[in-house]
């Protein structure tokens, strides 16, 4: 069987896969990183979004073998080793940006890429447009947008602490 060597959440790994194994299958079934979800069969829902070499991609629409030598970051790789959450994760918690949580890992990974690519800051409308590839069936998106708007302030170093949600 082909072997693919890559870095996942900072750790080098070497995994035996089939050529047709999708990245998400390798992550979930072989590396047991089940935080990355599969919500559709049509590349549309974004529940499976991870970063490959710093760019958000749908891990259900890329082969594991295409990731040879790549750096992959999944939802499990965001928090610090001591458990301190990434500002985006913290913002999703603070702003109640999830209900069932199924879409959340993909939302968080897409949101981080979106914020990182836009150091000038994003309006609510731009955040909504930037989330085109992520579907949520529960929240109505409103609190997700608020969470991302708050997180970008911390991620761009404009505030040390996450702005608190109103009671």
């Amino acid at each position: 069987m082909p072997k693919v060597s890559l870095t996942v959440n900072g750790k080098p790994v070497s995994v035996e896969v089939e050529n047709r194994t999708l990245l998400v299958e390798m992550l979930r079934e072989q590396l047991r990183l089940t935080g990355t979800h599969v919500g559709c069969d049509t590349s549309q829902c974004g529940a499976c979004v991870v970063h490959v070499n710093g760019a958000s991609v749908k891990s259900c629409t890329i082969l594991a073998v295409q990731c040879e030598g790549a750096e992959v970051l999944t939802i499990e790789g965001l928090a610090a080793p001591d458990g301190t959450l990434h500002p985006m994760q913290e913002a999703f918690r603070e702003y109640h940006a999830l209900q069932c949580g199924f879409c959340t890992p993909g939302m968080v990974m897409s949101a981080i890429d979106l914020v990182q690519r836009n150091p000038q800051g994003l309006s609510d409308r731009e955040i909504r447009e930037g989330l085109e590839g992520n579907l949520c069936r529960c929240t109505g998106y409103h609190n997700i947008v608020r969470a991302i708007a708050a997180a970008q302030v911390v991620m761009h170093g404009k505030a040390k602490e996450l702005p608190r949600a109103a009671e």
Binding site: E18, N19, T61, Q66, E68, S110, D113, L114, E132, N134
Partner: protein, 265 residues
């Protein structure tokens, strides 16, 4: 997915050789069209030849007259390019509205035009701007490139290496996106420049992208949305599906074309 072999060549020449040696093999670039097709078992290639490890196939360059986008350049890179935004803003804008951010991070111009999905955006830009498609063996004029639904002039073992877009005086693209998929239900690209006045329509044609002769003639006489008043599009060669009837698409072509001319200024 059915099983397949996988190759990761380091040069276009090596990829072309692999492709020529196996008629059942297929290229994979961004995989944004091909992998969904494979997942549905609608294709059964013997092997995938991945263009992902060929650095020569990525990049954008701009001269006084031409924007060149290499074959494996992503939609995201075209959308984010300050040079493209300056030279052909309509092209950068088109790229920025393809699918969603994750599709744009992987999908490439070569894959998009080689696939020639009848609802894809890039074919409209290639045709309206009168671009030249460069391949591993020749250069193909846009007017000769798109030959039918999911069909192009490419030989089975030919690789798109770059697209040269002549810089127009004015150009704009307006699409009516399918609200679920973001693909064009109808998209119209209008351009006035070294290649003349050209209007290309995507999303609507039963045979893929096409030029709109009546609109081109009217706009050549007078470049204004009003010049398109009264010009209709015969519906018989248009797509009809659950999203829109052919008559509705015919109507949308007129509306999108007027908006595009207004936007081009």
């Amino acid at each position: 997915m059915y099983e397949f072999a996988y190759h990761r060549p380091a040069s276009v020449a090596e990829a072309a050789k692999l492709l020529a040696a196996d008629p059942e093999a297929k290229l994979i670039s961004g995989g944004m069209s091909l992998i969904p097709v494979l997942k549905q078992r609608l294709a059964r290639p013997s092997a995938l030849i991945d263009l992902g490890a060929i650095p020569d196939l990525v990049g954008i360059s701009v001269t006084a007259t031409t924007v060149t986008v290499k074959g494996r350049t992503t939609h995201a890179a075209v959308a984010a390019s300050a040079e493209v935004r300056q030279a052909i803003p309509a092209l950068a804008e088109l790229a920025s509205h393809i699918g969603d951010a994750q599709v744009r991070n992987r999908g490439t111009i070569g894959g998009s035009i080689a696939h020639h999905d009848p609802t894809a955006d890039y074919p409209a830009a290639v045709l309206a701007l009168g671009a030249t498609v460069n391949t591993s063996r020749r250069s193909i004029a846009a007017d000769d490139f798109f030959t039918g639904l999911f069909a192009t002039a490419l030989e089975p073992d030919e690789i798109v290496t770059a697209v040269d877009f002549p810089i127009p005086e004015k150009a704009a693209y307006v699409k009516f996106p399918n609200p679920a998929s973001r693909y064009a239900m109808v998209g119209v690209f209008v351009a006035k420049g070294p290649m003349g006045v050209r209007v290309a329509v995507t999303g609507a044609g039963a045979n893929g992208v096409f030029r709109h002769a009546a609109m081109e003639e009217a706009l050549a006489k007078s470049w204004s949305p009003e010049a398109l008043e009264g010009i209709t599009t015969p519906a018989e060669h248009l797509n009809t599906d659950i999203h829109a009837s052919r008559e509705y698409r015919a109507h949308l072509i007129g509306v999108m074309a007027k908006r595009a001319v207004a936007k081009a200024g």
